[in-house]
Amino acid sequence: MAAETPLDRAAAVGPVPRVPHLGVAPRGWAQVQRRALRWGLAPALTVLALVTLAPAIWLIVSSLTPLTPTRPGSLDFSQPWQNYEQAFTSPEFVRSVWVQVKLSLVTVVLQLLIGLGIALLLERPSRLLETVRTGFLIPMVLPPIVVALIWKVLYTPAISPLHSLAAFFGVPFHSLIANADTAIWAIAVADTWEWFPFTMLMALAALQMVPKEPQEAARIDGASAIQLFWYVKLPYIRGTLVVAVLFRLIDSIKAFPLIYILTDGGPGGATEVTNYYAFVQTFNFAYWGYGAAIAMLLVAGMFILSLFISRAGGGMMIDE
């Protein structure tokens, strides 16, 4: 008996419906499309899995163990929630979250207000203002360690021009970073100095996209500058500001160099944010499992916060 050919098999199935214009069987074409999509995406998905997912999975897995390199056999899953329980019952962790909330809130609000304020001042087209804008960007493009060193000098009374100036004008003050009441605010000021250019840049870009017509109409109707900003410009730039806040919020939680150089988390833990707490636990004490659990809690917290802000921000976006 002769071997069955594809044509024989097709004849047995009967006529298949044709796709108008193309003359291709829809099932076959869809399969080809799906296959092409899969093959096309495969390299990117492989890289994503290797670079992002594998470490993330390892983070989750190790957070369920008391893993430490100093104890053989510590990759032990017998008490998978102990790191999380320990975190929530640790006064240091709870305090670090509170310090983190304070720092994030203050820095993000300050950066938003200062960045937006300066953007409004620099909004007009002018060569001079363009130069000034570039000058404002300098803190943001400096390496974070350099920024930290600049503020270390400013906050060290023996060598600080800030302290010398204050003493000259008869208002001397004590070291800000060695005082538990002021250290976190000192960090917040340094962080704001470093990052307000980012919000400024975002706000400036958004302001330049605001259409001219409604602004002119408002002016003709006699709107003041404040009314113009509040009722015309702000609705247009809200979405961008929300994105800027989101970026800064995420970055504020990753705060590290300023704290490492200026206070090392002190005095007495007064500036130990959660990120820094995780660093100390993981790298100084080698509690890798516990550090991973803290990192997971940070990721979860950030995810929830981002979701909340982007939803809230989405609702505020102007419908163009």
Binding site: P66, R71, Y155, I177, A178, A180, G266, N284, F285
Partner: protein, 448 residues
């Protein structure tokens, strides 16, 4: 009283060095028959943290390569980076390095976990160790950190950072009617007298209190652990520990410069050189810099032993040494490098050529040249250094090298910061440190 080291003259050492250099190109160490060198084709991966010593050593590496035929790749990252990297490498059984620095604060963990190689078999083997290497010449205070429970040595110390007391303006101290204080009481009285005289801030230490404070705690009769390394129950809330914390914090708060809590080791070192603080209990490597030519206080500085408390004198000594990872592939070649780097000849040349003075060999400390170099304004720095190492040789620094010490170190940092910044009383701060220490030790799997 200290025991006298065996006499070793510089001339005889230099003669030895010349002979050793000759030997390097002779069959014993380097060349084999047919002109092949002993380590031809071998690449040694050597790592240490960035330090004056490790940079000095770099300039001599071509001599080792030429003599042995080995190729040396030499890495010297910054201290924290080196430690973190090596901690991970050693814990994962990596054979990436052949020779490593065994860092003092990690020695308990690395040696205790069996991540480094015991060197005793190499030391005993006369085919592998030159006769004049003389391990017994290394001071016990410097080698203590590298011994395991069976007293096997895992590192050959290249530095012993010894804690002493230094004054930048000894002239002001004398004017106030004092000498370098020998006890805490005398120190306290002196600082009180110096305060408000318009001179530099009377006192400061670096803000790593987990390092600076324990000598005070021990000198007041306190303990860090009940009986390290076997009984690691923390003892941070005993009356002695609380009293010591109160005393130490009070000195910082009352006599320290504004912002003393933020003074890092490099800031203190600089403040000592420019005379903006007067008196400090600090590491020898920082204190000797007061006498450097660019120091503003070179003519007025003074040195002495760390003052004693009611329970005695307990200066810190931190030593770092060359060792090999347990997984190192070519241990004979690694040992060849270590014996070369720590040979008397090379160390003497480093002292002569570069002025390297933090040596750990008794024979070198006894050299007249060494004594002369470390005598500062009439204060015999070499003897103070030697006496400090001898004190540490008693073994009280073992608390620092037990694997779970790092969290305790951090708790002491925080406790002293809390007291100085008046967030807590000494009692509250030390009780909190005790509770956290207990939790940290349990977390580390220590049975208490």
């Amino acid at each position: 009283m200290t025991s006298r080291p065996p006499k070793l003259r510089r001339r005889s050492l230099l003669t030895g060095a010349a002979a050793a250099t000759g030997l390097l190109v002779l069959p014993g160490r380097a060349s084999a028959q047919g002109g092949n060198k002993k380590l031809d084709g071998v690449t040694l991966h050597v790592a240490c943290f960035s330090h004056t010593y490790s940079e000095f050593l770099r300039s001599y590496l071509p001599e080792f390569e030429q003599a042995t035929g080995a190729k040396v790749t030499y890495e010297t990252p910054a201290f924290p980076i080196y430690n973190q990297r090596m901690d991970i490498e050693l814990s994962t059984g990596s054979a990436a390095h052949d020779v490593i620095n065994v860092t003092f604060i990690y020695s308990g963990r690395w040696v205790g976990a069996g991540w480094t190689t015991p060197l005793d078999d190499f030391i005993k083997d006369h085919k592998k160790t030159p006769e004049d290497f003389d391990v017994a010449d290394f001071l016990p205070g410097a080698t203590a950190a590298f011994k395991d429970k069976q007293s096997r040595l895992h590192g050959i110390p290249w530095i012993a950072d010894a804690q002493q007391a230094g004054a930048t303006r000894y002239d002001l101290i004398e004017q106030a009617g004092f000498k370098q204080p020998d006890t805490f009481d005398a120190m306290s009285e002196m600082l009180k007298a110096l305060k408000g005289k318009g001179g530099p801030a009377p006192f400061a230490t670096e803000n790593h209190y987990g390092w600076q404070f324990p000598p005070y705690l021990l000198a007041f009769g306190g303990l860090i652990f009940r009986q390290p390394p076997d009984d690691l129950h923390p003892m941070l809330d005993t009356p002695e520990a609380i009293h010591a914390a109160e005393f130490f914090s009070n000195m910082l708060r009352e006599y320290g410069p504004d912002g003393v809590l933020s003074y890092t080791y490099d800031q203190v070192a600089q403040a000592l050189k420019d005379g903006s603080i007067n008196y400090s209990t600090n590491n020898e490597t920082f204190l000797v810099r007061m006498a450097e030519p660019d120091s503003k206080v070179a003519k007025t500085c003074a040195l002495s032993l760390m003052p004693a408390g009611p329970a005695g004198r307990f200066p810190n000594v931190a030593s770092h040494g060359w060792g090999m990872p347990a997984a190192a592939r070519n241990k004979d070649a690694s040992w060849e490098f270590i014996t070369w780097a720590m040979s008397k000849q090379l160390l003497l040349r480093m002292f002569d050529d570069k002025g390297y003075s933090s040596v750990t060999r008794a024979s070198m400390i006894a050299l007249p040249e060494f004594k002369q170099k470390l005598t500062i304004n009439g204060f015999d720095g070499a003897q103070i250094y030697r006496d400090t190492l001898d004190l540490a040789g008693k073994g009280y620094t073992v608390y620092r090298t037990v694997p779970p010490y790092p969290p305790i170190d951090r708790e002491l940092d925080i406790a002293i910061q809390n007291i100085v910044s008046q967030q807590m009383s000494a009692k509250e701060a030390m009780q909190r440190a005790q509770q956290n220490a207990l939790r940290a030790l349990q977390q580390a799997g220590i049975k208490l």
